[in-house]
């Protein structure tokens, strides 16, 4: 088994637009939980991970310039991550296909955790 990180990316506006009524929000929450649970039941969840605040600071350049994250212009920002266990990249991608984030125009970035060969 190898480890992968799912980075969930979406724009603030798009995810808000996809929210809809409270009833729809509850449904989309339940869809997400069901998807996560299915992955967990099959032993693919190494760590459920965490949500990330949509605000923060950017520290850039040799000058260490600190700015508010230019998130408004960002196409999509990482809203959270989950640590996944899968056979290989192909399977990890396969596992991501059921993610409800796609319904709201979001993106899942599937990144293998770098393995060191000692």
């Amino acid at each position: 088994m190898s480890e992968f990180v799912f980075l969930f990316r979406s724009t603030d506006a798009a995810s808000r637009a996809a929210m809809g009524s409270p009833e729809q929000m509850q449904k989309s929450m339940q869809t997400w939980m069901t998807w996560m649970q299915q992955l967990a039941d099959k032993g693919h969840i190494k760590d459920r991970g965490n949500p990330l605040e949509r605000t923060g600071k950017l520290v850039t350049g040799k000058q260490r310039t600190v700015t508010d994250g230019p998130y408004a212009e960002a196409k999509d920002i990482v809203g959270g991550y989950t640590l996944i266990e899968a056979k290989d990249l192909a399977q990890a991608v396969e596992l991501s296909l059921g993610c409800p984030i796609f319904e709201g125009g979001g993106v899942v970035e599937v990144r293998p955790v770098l393995k060191t060969t000692m």
């Binding site: 929210m19 009524s21 959270g80």
Partner: protein, 424 residues
Amino acid sequence: MELHEHLFRREAGRMVATLTRIFGVENLALAEDVVQDAFCRALEVWKFRGVPDNPSAWLMATAKHRALDVLRRERTARTFAPELGRLLESAEPLAPGVEELFAAHVIKDDQLRMMFSCCHPRLPEVAQVALMLHILCGFSIGEIAAAFVSTHAAIEKRLSRAKKVLAESKPLFEITEASDFAARLPALHRTLYLLFNEGYHGASPESAVRVDLCQDAMRLAALLFEHPAAATPATHALAAMMCLHAARLPARLDAAGNLSALADQDRSRWDPALIAEGQRLLELSASGPELNEYHVEAAIAAVHASAPRVQDTNWAQIVSLYDTLMTIRPSPVVALNRAIAIAQHEGPQRGLEEIGEIADRDRLAGYPFYHAALGELELRCGRDEPAREHFRGALALARNAMERRFLEQRIEACAGGKANLHVE
């Protein structure tokens, strides 16, 4: 942890009522934004960390924090509710004062106050129901349109007008004002009654029974009878009627998901706890000289509930209760139900005669169950062909798949007679 079905929209109602109390009714849109934020937050966090042990408390606490942010940020830019004035002007930190505004009993009163406010005398009944569904039950415009077989545009227009009336009604309805209370209580009863009926005999294209609407009406009615000033005989009668009808909901659809007529229902599936609660409330409702339509409707439902089999029903008592109802609140639908009860008591031919005598019978022409009742009685008289015609008429008016399946089965039941003679 499993989320209770419809938890979000019911919490939305609680939160909007409370936040409107805090921000003032003219800032309803702001309250709705804060609630939306709380849900977004819940989605972000719960997806990764799971549903908290007490999701309602989590949501309300999140809304409270957001409300504090808004109050701090906009204390100079906006006018908030007058009762907040002192709080906002004081140099003290806002939090403890705001904490009190989120106490459980205050939240209950907030919902009650919002219910009364939705029944503003300047609003027509349909607008009151729509407003209550939107604000207190968390229904979106689209969901209200679906429940009432209306268009998105029509509901949007109705709601925005209604919200304007609400925003202009300053100060908001005050539940401590006894005179306001008494004046507006009948309108509130009526609105809850309509809400319940919409769920029970709904015209929704998705489903003939919207249990969630019935539950919402019952939840709001319970808020009423739990409040001393609102716990009048009429309130108890209304709540009793809801319980006794809701008790039959599990049997209204049979195992195959088809509508089941009262006479055919599997009575073992009626909910005994709701029947008992209905009877308790009905007794409480009999504590004064007042007799209104809710008393009578509850009493009719209680007679049905006390009959273990349909043939045990005391039809004479039901007919006499319908006679009373016709004097209190006459309508063609009540007259139709009375005629059906007479048919049960004195035979189908008598029922048909009674239907023939309904004064404004033409008003029933668009109601599928009017034609279905005629079909049923003709069928029982052994006249298959006219029965089939009536059922076909009903089928053409059916509003959802369940009603259609029900009526198709009734048409099949007419097949015994001259089916082969009928060519279309």
